[in-house]
């Protein structure tokens, strides 16, 4: 498929699902009412509040989170040259969650509101850096996954410790929220908190495309083509930390988006890493917005966690991918 056509198609799909997201909620609204409410001309001012202030920020934040996860998944896979790399599996998301929890429960975010996303991004960066140091260049699948599991487990354990140390009666259910993610009751406050950092991350990640293409031929060839491989790694780490950190700080950790989306789209861009970046961002946005629609549509006593749905899709996918890779490595 033509690159431009693919991007256009994904953009149209994303817009469509964003619109559908505005139609979903506890209060039933017709499409017509929703559109009118979106532009502030609905008959009932309460509908305007619901669409503009409750559903719209939720949809936008969902798209932002999905874009961050999809894009960073594509970059990590290109950088590590392994289709199993993604922020959840590499432990980046868990580390971001740890950073956020530390900022929350030790009161830094009360003193200084930006402390929360900054801490999340900082820890995400540390986690990704550790991943590189341990799994390193050309890491095989096994090393990569094991390192990611180790980092993830460490981050979760430290998060749980931090919660134990804080006098919070809701600690356990908060853990669940951090580990599985939720867009429930998010507002434009969350959007404006995350957007600058996420956007900065996206911009930085976008510049890695050229280097990732060269890297697909190996590090030496890439270096001989003028790519500064160390700098590429650093850009990828910083960009991922910013984008994923900002996403996790507002929503918790939503897994497998960065795994599924690039993998599905890669054949459509003929496996070229730089061509995968923008489509993965759009695809990630679509996936998370869809999951968020499903979470509100599926009847249950309390709202399902977002990460549950992405895991239900992502884990079978992950297992199938492992099998496929094992089979081809033979």
């Amino acid at each position: 498929m033509n690159r431009v056509a693919l991007v256009l198609l994904l953009t149209v799909m994303m817009t469509a699902f964003l619109f559908v997201s505005l139609l979903v909620g506890t209060v039933p609204l017709t499409a017509g009412t929703a559109v009118r409410a979106l532009f502030g001309v609905a008959l009932d001012p309460r509908h305007v509040v619901i669409v503009q202030d409750i559903r719209l920020p939720r949809a936008i934040l969902g798209a932002m989170v999905g874009a961050s996860l999809g894009l960073s998944g594509a970059v990590l896979q290109g950088l590590l040259r392994n289709p199993l790399a993604e922020p959840g599996l590499t432990g980046t998301s868990s580390c971001a969650g740890l950073g956020a929890v530390i900022a929350l429960y030790f009161g830094w975010s009360a003193a200084f509101p930006l402390a929360l996303p900054l801490a999340a991004m900082g820890m995400a960066g540390v986690g990704t850096l550790l991943l590189f140091l341990v799994a390193g260049r050309n890491a095989g699948t096994l090393t990569l996954i094991l390192t990611g599991v180790a980092l993830s487990s460490l981050a979760v354990a430290l998060t749980s410790l931090a919660m134990n140390l804080s006098p919070n009666p809701y600690a356990l259910s908060e853990m669940v929220m951090w580990l599985l993610g939720s867009l429930h009751d998010r507002s434009f406050v969350d959007v404006t908190l995350a957007l600058p950092f996420a956007a900065a991350g996206w911009l930085i990640l976008a510049t890695t495309g050229r280097g990732l293409d060269a890297l697909s031929l190996g590090e030496e060839t890439a270096a001989s083509l003028g790519i500064r491989v160390q700098r590429l790694r650093l850009l990828a780490i910083i960009g991922t930390a910013l984008a994923v950190g900002a996403a996790v700080a507002t929503t918790g950790s939503v897994g497998f988006v960065g795994l599924v989306v690039p993998h599905l789209l890669r054949p459509l861009v003929r496996y070229q890493p730089s061509h995968l970046l923008l489509p993965s961002a759009l695809g990630g946005a679509i996936l998370v917005v869809l999951a968020d629609i499903a979470v509100r549509v599926i009847p249950s006593s309390s709202e399902l966690m977002l990460g549950v749905l992405t895991s239900l899709v992502g884990i079978p996918f992950f297992l199938a991918l492992i099998l496929k890779l094992q089979w081809s490595e033979r």
Binding site: T26, R46, I50, D53, L104, N168, W178, V189
Partner: protein, 292 residues
């Protein structure tokens, strides 16, 4: 929570202490009237809800210790007197060291702890949860019977009933709609202590109107469509920001909160279904009389 335009708050300050002091005074008089020097078994409480019953009913000299939450001013209505008493953990070891031969606990708690205590020979009384005033009295009576303090209980119950009757009598005819909210959007519907107190104070409970039974969640969109006349909150002012409290941070909720009067009922009055619930109802009723 700082005062906001259009909000009312409870009296706070000395009133709760006066209430407890008055109850203890009543109880002390009754105990003096009996004046039996017989050795009572020493009594310990290891749960927050049990603390209230034990302090209200047991002879002060026979209390071996209270739960570790007893001194928490936010959670425990007996905090003022808890300072003088040992603080116990929820473990068999702790109870043993306190020298108690009787333990009062609520219906939850680690079964293993109780099994162990039982094997050691400690008597355990479980206090049933109370979600209405009737159940509060039932629980008090049960514990009073276990502790052989029926007389005290009758005095206490009489006092509480009188206050409830006075409350009912003083209510204006309108029944405004109240929404009890926690920072995470949680609410209390039909069949909760909160609901009972709201009803006693002459409010309609928005959660019950929405069909919520027991503890549930208020949905922000639903709240926008059916705004309450009054918000009732307990421990909103958690200075810690948390993912959980997205509801309480949402600008839509904040706007509503600014426009709608809020009554604050300290969490300690209804964190358990116990005798302080009456004071919760009184606080709610008082708020209706105060000028907006």
């Amino acid at each position: 929570m700082p005062a906001r335009p259009g909000s009312t708050t409870n009296g706070g300050g000395p009133r709760p202490v006066l209430r407890i002091a008055s109850i203890l005074a009543v109880v002390a008089v009754a105990a003096a009237a009996k004046a039996e020097p017989s050795s009572r078994p020493t009594i310990a409480s290891i749960d927050l809800c049990a603390d209230q019953a034990v302090v209200a009913l047991a002879d002060p000299g026979s209390i071996a210790g209270l739960s570790r939450w007893a001194r928490d001013v936010n959670l425990s209505p007996v905090a003022p007197v808890a300072g003088n008493l040992p603080s116990l953990a929820e473990s068999a070891e702790s109870v043993l060291m306190s020298g108690a031969s009787t333990v009062v606990a609520d219906t939850y708690g680690d079964a293993k702890t109780f099994a162990l205590l039982d094997r050691i020979g400690v008597t355990i009384f479980r206090m049933p949860a109370a979600d209405s005033f009737a159940e509060v009295f039932v629980a008090l009576r049960l514990i009073a019977r276990d502790l052989h303090e029926e007389a005290k209980e009758r005095i206490l119950e009489a006092d509480l009933s009188t206050r409830l009757d006075r409350l009912q009598a003083s209510l204006p005819p309108q029944r405004p709609r109240a929404a009890y909210v926690r920072a995470d959007g949680g609410t209390a519907g039909d069949g909760t202590a909160v609901d009972a107190a709201l009803a006693a104070a002459g409010y309609r409970n928005l959660a019950t109107d929405l069909g919520i039974h027991g503890w549930g969640r208020l949905d922000l969109e639903t709240l926008v469509m059916s705004p309450p006349d009054v918000f009732v909150t307990s421990s909103f002012s958690s200075r810690r920001w948390s993912l959980h409290d997205a509801f309480g941070r949402h600008p839509v909720f904040r706007d509503m909160e600014a426009r709608v009067p809020t009554v604050v009922v300290p969490a300690r009055l209804w964190s358990c279904g116990g005798w302080p619930l009456v004071q919760a109802a009184e606080t709610l009723a008082a708020a209706r009389r105060e000028p907006r």
